[in-house]
């Protein structure tokens, strides 16, 4: 528990160090810090407005997918292939939901931790998968949406390859470290 707090503390310390440290360094380098801050910050809200249509489009489509029960069905379709690659059945819902939805995969992970126990191999495996994969479709929609990219070329396959690599690496490494 203490080590967990320690790691949380480290994140907090890094966060504070940046928020407080960067302006302090700015003063040291004779930058008019508040003027600079405001000038940069001005870009924030217009950026969010530009992303909003992409967020609504993606999040609604993904919300529909979750509600329809298709994620479970997709897991069933892929279960043969996944077990061939050594991915336990128990990881399938997480693996399928992850590229689409951060909140869904968070919920699945919390559920897994409670079902299998916080010290179980599956809990650690799931937690590692969360770190080693990303909500790829969401990231692509937001990043490319912000700059109006319509032809994404090979970005989607590249992102999904990275996710699959992260999933398999997490499963194999956890088997090796924790089993």
């Amino acid at each position: 528990m203490n080590i967990a707090n320690f790691s949380k503390d480290i994140s907090d310390i890094i966060f504070l160090l940046l928020i407080a440290g960067i302006p302090c360094y700015g003063v040291f380098r004779k930058v008019p810090v508040f003027d600079s801050f405001v000038e940069g910050a001005k870009e924030g809200f217009p950026l969010v407005i530009r992303i909003l249509p992409f967020l609504v489009g993606m999040i609604v489509a993904i919300g529909m997918l979750r509600a329809s029960g298709a994620i479970e069905a997709l897991g069933y379709v892929f279960s043969g292939l996944m077990s061939m690659l050594g991915v336990p059945q128990e990881m399938l819902p997480l693996a399928i939901a992850r590229p689409f939805s951060g909140s869904a995969s968070n919920a699945i992970l919390v559920d897994m931790i409670h079902t299998y126990g916080a010290d179980s191999l599956y809990a650690k495996m799931g937690a590692t998968i969360m770190g080693s994969t990303e909500t790829t479709f969401y990231v692509i929609a937001v990043y490319f949406g912000a700059i109006g990219i319509k032809k994404t070329r090979y970005a989607v396959p590249a992102g999904l390859i990275a996710d699959i690599a992260g999933l398999l690496a997490a499963v194999w490494i956890c088997r090796w470290l924790f089993a």
Binding site: I3, A4, F6, S7, K8, S11, L18, I22, P23, Y25, G26, R29, V33, G40, A41, G44, L47, V48, L55, V56, I59, V60, I62, M64, R66, A67, S68, G69, A70, I113, A118, D119, A123, A127, T128, M130, S132, E134, Y143, F144, A146, I147, G148, I149, K150, K151, T152, R153, Y154, A155, V156, P157, A158, G159, I161, A165, G166, A169, C174, L177
Partner: protein, 202 residues
């Protein structure tokens, strides 16, 4: 591609909603999600504004240049099309650093800023460049040193040593980053930028 992904998601949802008898849930999800999307944007707005302000200070103080120079040997090889001193390099360096430290809130504004800078180098507006695809792949596979939220979930459930996953996550993300970089270099060779542009514009 996003057009196909989007319409596929909708069609699959409707078909499975009917098969599973969950039409009402799907309809509810539509209204709930559009609201959720707005909430996400709104909660993002404050953090986005804050970090872009902090980043501007870092830029004016020469800190971004410093980080960029440190990561230069790596960045130059990954992004050969981006000039050495271009601001895109600085924003990408900050995004990668924020991702490694698990600062999700900071990583997104830096990442979007990096994309905007990369877009200034884009000769064909609306089409992703090789550098953009590489940056995106590195972003989605990012090496992680502090998987803060996963540790929090484990320790909340009373795990004995929730930080076990720091090492496994570091190893797994290192593998996935290497695979992502190799994959992008291979895909780049198959998708020649100029050929694709010409074939679509002729």
């Amino acid at each position: 591609m996003l057009n196909i992904v989007w319409i596929s998601l909708i069609i699959v949802s409707v078909v499975f909603g009917i098969i599973n008898g969950r039409i009402h849930e799907v309809v509810m999800a539509i209204t709930d999600s559009s609201r959720l999307a707005f909430d996400v944007a709104l909660s993002m707005a404050g953090m986005m504004t804050l970090w872009l302000g902090i980043m501007k200070i870092a830029e004016d103080a020469g800190l971004v240049d410093l980080i960029t120079r440190l990561l230069q040997p790596l960045l130059r090889r990954l992004f050969p099309d981006v000039p050495k001193d271009h601001p895109a390099m600085g924003a990408m360096a900050l995004n990668i650093a924020a991702n490694m430290l698990g600062l999700v809130n900071a990583a997104t504004p830096f990442g979007i800023k990096a994309m905007e800078e990369l877009n200034k180098l884009n000769p064909f507006a609306g089409t992703a460049t090789n550098a953009m695809c590489m940056f995106l792949a590195i972003n989605t596979s990012s090496v992680q040193l502090v998987p803060a939220s996963a540790i929090a979930f484990l320790s909340a459930a009373g795990a004995k040593s929730p930080t076990d996953i720091v090492f496994s996550t570091f190893l797994a993300t290192s593998c996935s980053t290497i695979v992502a970089i190799v994959a992008v270099f291979m895909l780049q060779r198959r998708h020649k930028y100029k050929n694709e542009i010409l074939s679509e514009h002729c």
